[in-house]
Amino acid sequence: MSVILTEAEAKALLEKVLKYSKADECEINISGEKRGNLRYARNEVSTSGSQITQNLIVQSAFGKKVGVATTNEFSDDAFEKVVRQSEELAKLAPENPEYVGVLTPQQYKKSSGFFDSTAGITPDFRADAVAKSLELSRAQNLAAAGFWEDTHGYSAMLNSKKLFAYYPSTDVNFSLTVRTPDGTGSGYVAKGFSDVSKLDTEAATKIAIQKSTGSVGAKALEPGKYTVILEPTAAAVLLENIFFNMDARSADEGRSFLSKQGGKTKLGDKIVDERVNIYSDPAHPELPSAPWAGDGQPMERVNWIEKGVVKNMAYSRYWAQKKGVKAVPFPNNMIVAGGTATLEEMIASTKQGILVTKLWYIREVDPQTLLLTGLTRDGTFYIENGKIKHPVKNFRFNESPVIMLNNLETLGKPERVVSTESNQNYMMPPMKIREFTFSSLSDAV
């Protein structure tokens, strides 16, 4: 049997495994995945590989005593063994006061994240796509270092209350850094898609080449507060720190940027500019994601920040029960809504400012304010009177995405981006921000 099961095959297999269960409650998650990658540096392939993995996870519960066991061996013997093992672990475990039991069957939104084009990628296809990129950098005597990774897989689950869910998906991520031979210029591009037919490595490579050659001869500007235009790749690594911290429990416990004086939370408060709208939706056509969480909770469209106001926080089923509210699972995708302005139009409307194409090494400095530090990288440019005047040396910044979104000037048209920090894909607009804080200069190229 193939590692990637169809819905019918997955259901039949899960039903077979569930029959071994003697626990009060049982939940089984299964996944199969094929991954292929190609890595290159100095214009030559450095490593390549492929991985085929499958996993079966069994969670058994006796009352509130819960045990989890996993196996990657797919045989009847192994299935029975892993069920027994999870039951033994459950019997030995202390009671988990936060265990809330398994769910009954749910209705899910339709989401199409599986594309035959991506599932059918062969090693030759991968090599040809990368060769197109390499030809361009070699022809211009530039040094390319890149990484291609495609994934094709599925996940499914079944529990003892007959909740069944299945979701197949495909993804491809391509990233490339192009450097000039003397190391004075560097440019980057990253693209992520569910459907590989949308990925044009040649066009992507041209962007990295343009930034690489365009960043030669960077001039130093004094650190300080500047109007910046963040390309979506740069904005993503800042805003995702808001997404990661939407947990209600931490906010209620007083240890989140969403906590406030008197033990209250900022749910319902306006925290950023009213033009900011952030939501998740598994059925988004350009960023499809699984319509169910790992425990079978349905993923709905959730508005997290609407017109600048915190509309929802993520409640685990346990915390929701304790607080008497509806559970809201952490989302599988995030979409930052935007306007219609193109990056070019945003540059044209800027009197003085800095175009930031990528940010790097983002770390949280203060969890209370979400103050982040990090640096610009691979192409930073000075804008004057609506035009890019010259490249500038890289800066270190210290800025909170919350403060930044209060200093919003314009949101552009969202596009799908890959976070260079977490590898997550988002829908993200370019954004113009005033008074962005650069605190020092870096000599790095």
Binding site: E27, E98, F257, G294, D295, Y361, I362, V365
Partner: protein
């Protein structure tokens, strides 16, 4: 790291945006299963020979085989609760070959004669397929075979033999004491790892190693609900290449510091540290905010280790210098011309940085690396001058080296080995000097303990570091705690401002248990030793904001 592996451990109920940062390899098993012996060494040798013969007959000119059993036990608790106990085992074989002058790698969990023979053939086929891209053939620095040898981390108590209940009791005591002393919340963990690795190569080496590591740690949070404020303080432990004896808390391994602080050498008192952490976190809620400006910094080894890691460890990795990591971690300012000049002042004359894989109790200590090279020690910076890099067998020739430094590592049998950081340490000062002696000489300074936020550019020039605890020094004395402190500097400027280093009695190690590198990303564990060190006139910023 392999996203799917840690997604499976999130269990249940978390979306993809809440991935935990802890990588788990392989299958979860019972704690008893972790104590079962792996396959016999004679069988491992037989399997290795099957692979070596198979690749040779298909045309490989070099082969190494790693049969690995990787065990992990991670215990997670918060306040009065055990959140999770993960026992994991990963077992399989990775085969790396050179054919047509090109690397090829393949791995399988089917550890049988047939599975290994098939995997070996795949490795050669991949090498041949990739050779169409290759311009210059791979050339390895010679390594004489060492025959049949064994090496084991010299542990006193095997962590995996300690009952899980004993570990939970300890963590519950840690959490309880922290709560009693002012913590609003506390999480505590014990991470333990055992790598049972068998390495064989066509050079004639058959190396059996049993490597142990442990990391006990916690985070204490103090809350002022009325003011809507919270502050954290992390543990001042270090991950170690030791067994459970690290948690004995021996008085002989403690170094008393100023203001009731304690430094821990190769024995850690977790409960004592949790009590102090809770008190310090609470104090941070009301402590005064730093005035930005230039300060002389007195940096504790438990803080300085991370600065060494980022500003010396990574920039002196030869693969980075050459551009192999350009698309992700970046390149390096420590370019070959600087090394060739033999006069690049990386730091002041006091700065001597040594690389090693032999320091007892450290994360980097092994008998042999993952390409069969014996562990050794070598200088990276001598009297302030950059003198060497970290290099492995296929790259050391680029810097005129005749033998590898022995710092090749793969985080699992199914990952391909590549250059990873050995221990990188600052040698202690030769003059007798304690921390108190050092503080006495500082007019306006800050004493920093523990690692906080960290960020550095892709060529390792400009960095910013926070910490866990900050003490203000005025006219040779500590006058109280400070908050919102971070320092920014440039690597060369910073190391040239190094003006004093305490002596060997203050020497301790810091470590990183999950250091990431490469695409797809792999983890490794690495230690950094130093004594408390002074840096003059460093730029300190204030990180306090209002939202």
């Amino acid at each position: 790291m392999k996203r799917r592996d840690f997604m499976q451990m999130t269990g249940m109920g978390m979306g993809a945006l809440m991935l935990p940062s802890v990588p788990i390899f392989g299958n979860t098993v019972s704690s008893e299963h972790l104590l079962e012996p792996g396959i016999d060494v004679a069988l491992k040798k037989r399997y290795a020979d099957i692979a070596l013969n198979a690749t040779k007959s298909k045309g490989a000119t070099y082969t190494d085989v790693r049969i690995g059993r990787y065990l992990q036990q991670f215990v997670f608790t918060r306040e009065k609760q055990v959140q999770n106990i993960v026992n994991a085992e990963s077992f399989g074989v990775g085969i790396r070959v050179i054919a047509n002058g090109t690397w090829g790698f393949s791995a399988t969990s089917d550890v049988t004669s047939e599975g290994i023979a098939k995997c070996a053939e795949t490795a050669v086929a991949i090498a041949k397929a990739n050779s169409k891209f290759q311009k210059d053939p791979v050339v390895l620095a010679p390594q004489k075979g060492v025959g049949d040898v064994t090496w084991k981390t010299p542990i006193k108590k095997n962590t995996f033999e300690i009952p899980t209940a004993e570990k939970i009791d300890l963590l519950m005591k840690v959490n309880g004491k922290a709560m009693e002393n002012g913590a609003g919340f506390v999480t505590s963990n014990i991470f333990s790892v055992n790598e049972q690795k068998y390495f064989a190569s066509s050079d004639g080496s058959y190396i059996d190693q049993d490597i142990h590591r442990i990391w006990p740690t916690f985070t204490v949070t103090a809350i002022d609900k009325a003011a809507g404020k919270f502050k954290t303080r992390g543990a001042l432990s270090s991950p170690m290449g030791m067994g459970y004896e690290y948690l004995d808390g021996l008085a002989s391994e403690k170094i008393a510091g100023p203001n009731g602080t304690v430094g821990y050498r190769s024995s850690y008192d977790m409960v004592e540290d949790a009590i102090l952490a809770a008190k310090q976190a609470k104090e941070k809620l009301t402590t005064k905010t730093v005035l930005p400006g230039k300060y002389d910094l007195v940096l504790d080894p438990n803080h300085l280790g991370l600065t060494i890691h980022e500003s010396v460890g990574h920039p002196t990795e030869l693969d980075r210098v050459l551009g192999y990591e350009a698309n992700y971690a970046g390149t390096s300012f420590a370019t070959l011309d600087k090394w060739e000049s033999k006069k690049f002042n990386y730091g002041s004359k006091l700065v001597n940085i040594v690389a090693d894989r032999i320091q007892p109790h450290t994360l980097g200590a092994v008998g042999f690396d993952d390409e069969g090279v014996p562990a050794k020690e070598w200088d990276i910076i001598k009297d302030g001058i950059l003198v060497n890099y970290q290099a492995i067998r296929d790259q050391v020739k680029i810097i005129g080296g005749k033998e590898s430094n022995g710092c090749c590592y793969a985080d699992n049998w199914d990952s391909v080995q590549f250059q990873r950081m050995p221990n990188i340490s600052l040698r202690p000062g030769t003059e007798k000097r304690s921390v108190l002696d050092m503080i006495k000489g500082v007019e306006k300074g800050i004493y920093i303990i523990g690692a906080g936020s960290y960020s550095i550019d892709q060529q390792r020039y400009n960095f910013q570091f926070g910490g866990q605890v900050f003490y203000e020094i005025k006219k040779g004395e500590i006058v109280g705690m400070l908050d919102d402190v971070a320092y920014q500097s440039n690597t060369q400027e910073f190391w040239n401002s190094c003006s004093q280093i305490c002596d060997k009695d203050d020497y301790r190690t810091f470590g990183s248990f999950f250091d990431g590198k490469g695409q797809p990303s792999q983890i490794s564990a690495v230690a950094h030793g130093s004594a408390t060190t002074r840096f003059d006139g460093v730029n300190v910023i204030n990180t306090g904001r209002k939202i």
